[in-house]
């Protein structure tokens, strides 16, 4: 949390000062929230819920494109969400911007041609993001965008920063009680670009996607995660850091060829390292077999499709104990 004070005199002269502090997140913020009991009852619900959540976040925008708004978010209110909450877990609602882009028309900026990584006008992001949080009053935790801070060009980062700031401000204006996560930069160049543009002044949580041997361990492309966190700390930003996508699957080093026990050991090693550098919350992916058909992910599942728990499940459970 950063407070900015501006002093202005009648002559038009101004001075500003800032002060920062950390506001702890509510205790309901999940920290390795999957207990054995939860999984017994909610394994399937959690996975389907997670996927429904993401698809719907995109889909909301499509509804807007069509000019109709039939019961927005009806699936979000399905019993699986209530079960998850009843079990003490809080879903993180990822707001993709693909539907938003189609809704508004694009500005011509693409990132790798991916639909959900187009730049749109900031005011459109603001309208869309505010709309989502207004229509989902039972949810508290939101994530704005998905892996969009991945192109260090100045033009892209200008567009990205404008979108994130406009979206965050609109969401908080709509519902000051919500907690909004913003991505923490795929590389050091992107972190610096966001710092230069004030993006992290508009974020309650900093989120990273951490898979396999990727951003955390690979120093290539300036992606070494501890250094990125240090950059933000040195700049005065101390928001909680989470991994809204965390897994030992592909990401530079996959799990192909490993035994299930070796995957479990790898999970412990990587999660422990993340905890050491300040991560507080993890959303594991993929949790249940069948979520992804990519053979590269198969060994990373915690639970088989028939409910059989892999050693990775127990590694995760031990970390959460």
């Amino acid at each position: 949390m950063r407070v900015t004070v501006t002093a202005a005199d009648r002559s038009g002269n101004t001075a500003t000062a800032t002060a920062s502090a950390t506001v702890a997140q509510p205790s309901s913020l999940p920290t390795f929230g999957l207990t054995a009991t939860n999984v017994d009852h909610l394994t399937a619900a959690f996975e389907s819920g997670a996927r429904t959540m993401r698809n719907d976040a995109c889909y909301l925008g499509q509804y807007e494109v069509e000019g109709s708004l039939p019961e927005i978010g009806s699936t979000w209110r399905a019993d699986n969400w209530r079960d998850i909450k009843a079990a003490g877990m809080e879903p993180l609602i990822q707001i993709h911007l693909s539907g938003c882009a189609a809704w508004a028309g694009i500005d011509g900026l693409y990132h790798n041609g991916q639909q959900d990584k187009q730049a749109v006008r900031p005011e459109v992001v603001a309208d869309f993001a505010a709309h989502v949080v207004r229509e989902l009053p039972e949810h508290t935790y939101f994530k704005l965008g998905n892996e969009m801070d991945r192109d260090g060009s100045a033009a892209w980062m200008d567009a990205y920063a404008a979108m994130m700031i406009a979206g965050y401000d609109a969401m908080k204006a709509e519902r000051p009680d919500i907690v909004v996560a913003v991505e923490g930069g795929i590389g050091q160049n992107e972190v610096q670009a966001c710092l230069d543009r004030g993006v992290y002044d508009h974020a309650d949580i900093i989120d990273h996607h951490v898979y396999g041997g990727g951003p955390l361990y690979n120093s290539g492309d300036g992606r070494y995660l501890p250094r990125k966190l240090q950059m933000m700390h040195d700049a005065g930003y101390h928001q909680p850091v989470i991994a809204s996508e965390f897994g030992v699957g592909p990401g530079g080093v996959g799990t192909e060829g490993l035994t299930k026990q070796e995957v479990a050991d790898l999970l412990t090693e990587r999660a422990t390292r993340l905890l050491d550098i300040g991560f507080s919350t993890f959303y594991y992916f993929p949790f249940t077999a069948g979520v992804r058909n990519d053979a590269l992910w198969n060994e990373a599942y915690m639970v088989e499709a028939d409910g059989t728990r892999n050693p990775a499940f127990y590694s995760y459970q031990n970390l959460s104990a």
Binding site: M1, R2, V3, T4, V5, T6, A7, A8, D9, R10, S11, G12, N13, T14, A15, T16, A17, T18, A19, S20, A21, T22, V23, A24, Q25, P26, D169, K172, A173, P176, D201, H202, A203, D204, G236
Partner: protein, 101 residues
């Protein structure tokens, strides 16, 4: 709890100075946060004009005082979480504000 001060200038007039500090580095949700702001401007002056009316007979009225502040400084506060900060006190040099974490 970093402190950063920056200024802008208008020709010929003094620039205000301001600093801000919070009473803690970490807060729990729902906790009261206290922000202390110290500010000044060398152009700011309190002026009191005393007026006395006299007639040719040497009679004078009681003096009347009129006060004003030249180039006063106003404060505005915003935070990254969109909270509302409430002024608890302000004596023209030190302002104390509070908000709920």
């Amino acid at each position: 709890m970093p402190l950063v001060t920056s200024t802008t200038t208008e020709d010929g007039m003094a620039v205000p100075t301001v600093s801000a500090s919070l009473d803690k580095a970490k807060y729990a949700p729902g906790e009261t946060m206290t922000l202390t702001v110290n500010y000044s401007d060398t152009d700011t002056q309190s002026v009191t004009v005393t007026v006395t009316a006299s007639d040719s007979s040497g009679n004078s009225s009681n003096p009347v005082n009129v006060s004003c502040v030249i180039d006063p400084v106003s404060l505005s506060v915003s935070d990254s979480g969109g909270r509302v900060w409430t002024v608890q006190s302000d004596n023209g040099q030190v302002a104390v504000l509070s908000a709920v974490a």
